[in-house]
């Protein structure tokens, strides 16, 4: 099987995030492979181990994103490709999905594309479905288990984790799948993988390399970023002899404060 796993480099969730003059900062905390994407990489590797084939890790980002790709290589992906172009600096999910879809077409004869359910920074969770739409492939999102996969028969069946419980879905290949935490336990990179990754030659593709003459203007922008306002809270205990008395006094206070 020819599998592509799309990954992103993000801040560490343990980082202390602040906003200064509209610019988001995470201090000295390192950038990491988006935690959701680790599950996607692991699932890709497991599918390859079960069905043979190869796994390509693909990322759109600055050159520093090569570190996230190196981790994917160290975990066991055969190759990694970075898409980097100054024109993509302010890309929104629509632009990102267009670029990723074009790159997947350039890789060619891909059977399965995997995503993590979202990225911990933007957290839109829509890039995977948008890529599927652009490729005209089915998307199976929020997947907690791939219950069956038949590369020759071109079928896939999954369990999706939705609010109501688990949903069983069948689809056809090629497909885009986004996975949730708990689908697997991501492996640590092996030392041999680490050595291989540190020496790997990683192609960097520009928009021209993937056949995009023009990059669309982002539909979504972030004109202003500010940290959530710090709310000072005071706790006022409502006293009373009986629950009815407390309730009556609470109602009075709420009316006073114009809450009700």
């Amino acid at each position: 099987m020819n599998i592509v796993v799309c990954v992103k480099q993000t801040p560490d969730t343990a980082a202390t995030v602040s906003v200064e003059d509209g610019v988001v900062s995470w201090g000295d905390s390192p950038l990491v492979l988006n935690p959701w994407d680790e599950y996607a990489v692991e699932e890709a590797l497991r599918i390859r181990e079960a069905h043979s084939g190869q796994v390509t890790a693909l990322s759109l980002g600055p050159e520093a994103a090569m570190e996230a790709l190196k981790l994917a290589l160290a975990m066991g992906c055969e190759q990694a490709i970075l898409i980097n172009d100054p024109a993509l600096e302010d890309a929104d999910p629509l632009v990102v999905s267009k670029v990723l879809a074009a790159a997947i077409k350039k890789i060619g004869e891909v059977d399965l594309v995997l995503f993590g359910r979202g990225s911990v920074d933007n957290d839109t969770g829509i890039t995977g479905p948008q890529v599927a739409r652009r490729l005209n492939w089915p998307v199976l999102s929020l997947v907690a288990d791939i219950t069956s996969l038949d590369p020759e028969g071109r079928t896939i069946a999954v369990e999706r984790m939705i609010d109501e419980g688990r949903q069983l879905v069948r689809g056809s290949l090629p497909a885009v799948v986004s996975v949730v935490k708990g689908i697997n336990e991501p492996r640590y990179p092996s030392f041999m993988g680490i050595r291989k990754a540190s020496r790997a030659e990683m192609p960097i593709w520009s928009t021209a390399d993937i056949g995009l003459d023009e990059v669309p203007t982002p539909a979504m922008t972030w004109p202003e970023i500010f940290a959530p306002l710090k709310v000072e809270t005071e706790c006022e205990m409502i006293e009373g002899e009986t629950p009815e008395e407390v309730a009556a006094r609470l109602a009075d206070r709420l009316i006073e404060e114009k809450v009700i």
Binding site: K70, A74, P189, M192, R195, S198
Partner: protein
């Protein structure tokens, strides 16, 4: 001069940090209270290749360098000293000694399974009556045809009850001109007839580890198991300690870092006199000291690791790294308790375990007093190292990573 770690080093660091945080940290307090070693630690470290991180691939290892070994130890001890002790005795005292002094046949027989974690090793030099004064050990080895018969007691041996083999130094030449030339070192199969082992409980620290004793009663060891020549035991033991001591230095650096992080986190949360205690200057002074000591300890052990990579004798640098880092780690942990106030005195927080764990390292792998004497000898010109018959191999990534 490039002070940065390579991408490879950073990935090694992260991998081991993740392992220790995910698989050991959540339950370490429980095992520490039980004074027992979690049974999954050795098999997992073996399976992940951590036990053989710095051995050549052709000997079953992972082909990484000595700097990587140091980084691994720093990450492991940042969670608990038990993990780093495993590296010190299995990888350091046992594995690296065989790598340096063993014959090709011994490397095949012992180093390969040690590197894969199929065998667990330890170092057995200390006795009830002899620690720093290694030449005064009482354990004996008497040649009998193509075997030696070993007798004696070894004590304060990490992994004594968990190991399969031990590197053991005994006196084989009772009438040698110098006591230091009377010793020989052997690989002893701890499952042999005549070997008994037991655990020592009641230690102040490293309670989630395994420390014990080994008793040898007429234990027959083939001459093929002797590491080095007869009478080279003192030199072999000192080489073993150069390896083990380096891991102690790197590990203690991790302990300083853990104490620092715990102190910074707590100081930012805890409020007194209307503000976080992180704004109080006396707390700041403690944290600043820890931060500086961490940087110094790190530079010292990384330099020692770099010298090991070059194949340059590094007894002096390793001694400095060990003495500084262990002393600083005990201070850091003690101050971390102070930062935590009463909570530091409870095992609800990690810092009291850090301090109890830190204290042992000032004593073992060459007490800090011995380190001072070693360094004084170098500084005063009293000591010049002659080349050893067997030097630690130079790190060569191509050669070490060839299958």
């Amino acid at each position: 001069m490039d002070f940065s770690l390579t991408a490879e080093h950073e990935m090694v660091q992260k991998m081991v940090r993740d392992f220790a945080q995910r698989e050991v940290a959540p339950t370490i307090k429980v095992w520490d209270r039980k004074q027992d070693m979690a049974p999954h630690i050795l098999p997992r470290m073996g399976k992940l290749g951590i036990l053989g991180v710095c051995f050549p691939v052709r000997y079953g290892g992972q082909g990484m360098d000595f700097v990587s070994l140091g980084l691994v130890c720093e990450e492991l001890e940042a969670v608990d000293t038990t993990l780093r002790v495993v590296m010190s005795v299995h990888t350091g005292l046992a594995g690296l000694t065989i790598l340096q002094w063993g014959t090709n046949e011994q490397k095949k027989r012992f180093l390969e399974p040690l590197a894969r974690g199929d065998l667990i090793g330890c170092g057995a030099f200390t006795e009830p009556g002899a620690g720093s004064d290694i030449s005064a050990i009482q354990a004996t080895g008497k040649r009998d045809g193509d075997q030696y018969i070993l007798n004696g007691e070894k004590m304060w041996i990490s992994l004594a009850t968990k190991a399969d083999i031990a590197i053991v130094t005994v006196r084989t030449i009772p009438d040698a001109a110098k006591p230091s030339r009377s010793l020989s070192t052997f690989v002893v199969d701890l499952h042999s007839p005549g070997v008994t082992t037991g655990d020592i409980h009641g230690k102040l620290g490293v309670r989630a580890g395994s420390t014990g004793w080994i008793s040898l009663q007429d234990v027959r060891v083939p001459v093929e198991n002797r590491i080095g020549e007869q009478g080279e035991g003192f030199k072999v033991t000192m080489s073993a300690l150069d390896s083990g001591r380096y891991t102690v230095a790197a590990g203690a650096t991790g302990l300083i870092r853990a104490s620092l992080k715990a102190s910074v986190d707590y100081a930012n949360e805890r409020r007194a006199f209307g503000e976080p205690i992180a704004k109080h200057q006396l707390i700041q002074a403690k944290i600043a000291r820890m931060a500086q000591d961490y940087e110094i300890a790190r530079l010292l052990y990384l330099k020692a690791g770099w010298l090991k990579n070059q194949g340059v004798r590094n007894t002096r640098e390793t001694s400095m790294a060990k003495r500084f880092a262990t002393a600083a780690s005990f201070t850091a942990a003690s101050e971390a308790i102070q930062v935590h106030g009463a909570y530091g005195y409870s095992d609800e927080y990690d810092v009291e375990r850090f301090m109890r764990n830190a204290r042992g390292a000032l004593i073992y792998e060459g007490s800090n007093e011995i380190q001072i004497l070693i360094q004084a000898d170098y500084a005063l010109g009293h000591r010049r190292d002659k080349p050893l018959r067997c030097e630690m191999p130079v790190y060569d990534p191509i050669d070490w990573q060839e299958a």
